[in-house]
């Protein structure tokens, strides 16, 4: 028997559309006031999971609990949940004020209380001057605020945000991201945001839930999913540019740490504990760009040919191909002078390398002492 705990709990949620499974036995606990991001590629089931929590979809099996109350049999409006839709879903023929009041009037909240809450939300979101406009007269960013305002006035126990920034242009997206971060300080509720943009997830969320292939691949803080990805999928999905994956073979161990022979024949001394990794096993070596750099002139390194150079001003990513054919990405500070087609020598920080076995399971390096 479970104890009624505050926060959101998903237990073994399953959903399929006909023969196509969308979610398979998804379980998750969200603490009160926690900011969670559902991150995954399209078709990973992240939006479906959000809609099941909201009550807009019904799970085939499994339970949804909020603050100790089982909510999955309840109607969407009875769950104490507010949602900000991807396309805002504002009522086009109602003014901003009416949009925000609609749910409260339906829930029979007293009139002066409605007025008070709308004034407060309008104040927070700086839309006080727009209360008598209709959504069609507003810009995308303003509509977004109204949609958030409509959620705030309900004083929900849980906020759901479906791709909240995807309809905004780049400049507005950055500002709204800051505003969302401020929003979570102001509201006394947990937030769950669906996104396919890892930068959003990394900057906003306390914990990231990474979904793919109908299942949760990893739940962790942004630092955890970046530094210790649970499997090869997470390793590739989180990080921009992504972790490079080099094919290799376990060559042996030295000092309890794995030695890897890359396809190029080059030996790499890793900091991954040898336990469980047998010599001769084919594996992939995962390397973040910051652990690969150009060798200083006159020093040796792994031979590679530069294919693409991405100059971001303060730093430069160098996409190169090793002699054995594997793609690798190096990071250099500053603007750099290397050009596509150049031959380069790369220094690989083997002690930062991750190892992924054929099943995708991850072996991480021991922290540097």
């Amino acid at each position: 028997m479970r104890l009624p705990l505050p926060g959101l709990d998903l237990i073994d949620v399953c959903k399929s559309y006909g023969d196509v499974p969308v979610l398979e036995r998804v379980s998750l606990s969200v603490a009160p006031r926690e900011f969670i991001a559902f991150l995954g590629p399209s078709g990973s089931g992240k939006s479906t999971l959000l809609r099941i929590i909201a009550g807009l979809e019904t799970a085939d099996s499994g339970e949804v609990w909020l603050d100790g109350e089982r909510i999955d049999p309840l109607a969407p409006g009875a769950r104490g949940i507010a949602m900000v839709f991807q396309h805002y879903a504002l009522y086009p023929h109602m003014t901003v004020r009416e949009n925000m009041a609609f749910g409260l009037v339906n829930a029979k909240v007293p009139k002066d209380e409605i007025t008070r809450r709308i004034a407060q939300a309008a104040d927070i979101l700086e839309i006080g001057a727009q209360l008598d406009k209709k959504p069609g007269q507003m810009s995308g960013g303003q509509r977004q605020r109204v949609a958030i305002g409509r959620a705030i006035v309900k004083q929900p126990r849980l906020f759901l945000l479906d791709e909240p920034l995807s309809n905004l242009d780049a400049a507005l997206r950055g500002r709204t991201r800051v505003e969302l971060a401020q929003l979570r300080q102001r509201v006394d509720a947990a937030l769950i945001m669906v996104t396919h943009d890892q930068a959003e997830a990394m900057t906003l969320a306390d914990r990231i839930v990474i979904l793919d292939n109908c299942c949760i691949q990893q739940v962790g803080t942004p630092a955890e999913v970046y530094a210790r990805p649970a499997n090869a999928f997470v390793a590739r999905f989180v990080g921009s540019p992504p972790m490079a994956m080099l094919p290799g073979v376990i060559a042996g161990a030295e000092g309890g740490r794995v030695q890897v022979r890359l396809a190029e024949g080059m030996m790499l001394a890793t900091a991954v504990p040898a336990g469980g990794l047998v010599a001769g096993t084919e594996i992939e070596v995962g390397l973040r760009p910051e652990h690969v750099r150009l060798a200083a002139p006159g020093t040796s390194g792994a031979a590679a040919e530069v294919e693409l150079v991405e100059r971001l001003g303060d730093r430069t990513f160098i996409y190169a191909r090793l002699a054995g054919g594997a793609e690798i990405i190096a990071l250099e500070p500053g603007f750099g002078t290397v050009r596509p087609g150049d031959a380069a020598a790369l220094v690989i920080d083997g002690e930062a390398a991750h190892i992924f076995t054929a099943g995708g399971a991850a072996h991480h390096p021991e922290p540097r002492g």
């Binding site: 009550g55 109607a75 949940i81 507010a82 839709f85 991807q86 609609f102 749910g103 339906n106 829930a107």
Partner: protein, 292 residues
């Protein structure tokens, strides 16, 4: 030739054929009708200028006044119930699934029947002489009702016939309007604790008000020109109790050969329909802000 000019010419070339036909069958006859209405004219081409005499005759014509009353009553008995019924049916049929699809087809099917078939069917239903309703009444021991020869019942009888015949198209229009409403608004309403009545009143109806306006405007224009059903079911009888304006125009022009007078009545009807349609449009749209 610069590109902008060429684009314009190409555009005119595309709409040109339509404009030519439109002018030939709509604009020219409208103007010719205006001219004819100022003459005493017959079908053989005899024209005698009479100025506004036809129009002043129309103002004092008791038969026309009766026809105007009949037509207005028919429009009142048809347009509001038709719009309401079509809305109810469209709301009921606006769902996925084979059953709803079949029913959508059924309700649309009466529309493809010609007025001849429709009046034939309804004659079988309405006639006191072994008609469907008469048989039903007889089975319960009651006397048949002479729908088509009782001056008080003939207008409602034609109205019901027309309702049955005309229902399909408004249902389709409203269904199309309903399917334009974005689904996420309904999801937002579900999270906003809106019950079905609130959703209908505050979300659905405002969202399709332009479609409803279109239905009302089209049907008003159509029913003010009601002709076939009256002509075929009753011939305008008994005693002119079901004579409509268009039926009267038909009688005057092809029965009495007074083409000038008939045309004058037709122009008056045209002006009336135009005015009514504009008033309806203004009533519905006056509070709307320009669309972004």
């Amino acid at each position: 030739m610069n590109a902008a000019l060429r684009d314009r010419l190409v555009g005119y070339a595309f709409v040109g054929p339509f404009l030519l036909v439109y002018a030939a069958v709509m604009v020219v006859p409208l103007i010719m009708g205006l001219v004819i209405s100022l003459h005493r004219a017959d079908l053989f081409g005899r024209r005698e200028w009479v100025g506004l005499a036809n129009y002043s005759e129309a103002l004092g014509d008791p038969v026309l006044h009766q026809a105007l009353g009949n037509t207005a009553m028919l429009a009142l008995l048809i347009v509001p119930p038709l719009t309401g019924l079509a809305l109810l049916l469209a709301l009921a049929l606006n769902r996925p699934g084979r059953f709803a699809a079949v029913l959508r087809g059924v309700f649309f099917s009466s529309l493809v029947l010609s007025v001849t078939i429709v009046t034939l069917i309804w004659r079988f239903i309405l006639t006191p002489d072994a008609g469907l309703i008469a048989e039903g009444l007889a089975a319960t021991g009651r006397a048949p009702i002479p729908f088509l020869s009782d001056p008080d019942l003939v207008i409602p009888a034609i109205a019901v016939t027309t309702l049955w015949w005309s229902l399909g198209f408004p249902v389709m229009l409203i269904l199309a309007g309903l399917q334009q409403v974005p689904g996420d608004i309904y999801e937002a309403a579900a999270l906003d604790v809106a019950n079905r009545w609130t959703v209908l009143r505050r979300i659905t109806l405002p969202a399709i008000r332009r479609t409803l306006l279109l239905v009302v405007m089209l049907q008003t224009a159509a029913q003010l020109q009601l002709f076939g059903q009256a002509q075929l079911l009753t011939g305008g009888g008994p005693g002119g109790a079901s004579r409509t304006i268009v039926l009267y125009i038909f009688e005057v022009s092809f029965g009495r050969w007074e083409l000038g007078y008939a045309t004058a009545i037709a122009e008056l009807l045209f002006g009336m329909i135009l005015a009514l349609t504009l008033v309806q449009y203004w009533l519905v749209t006056r509070h709307e802000e320009p669309r972004a």
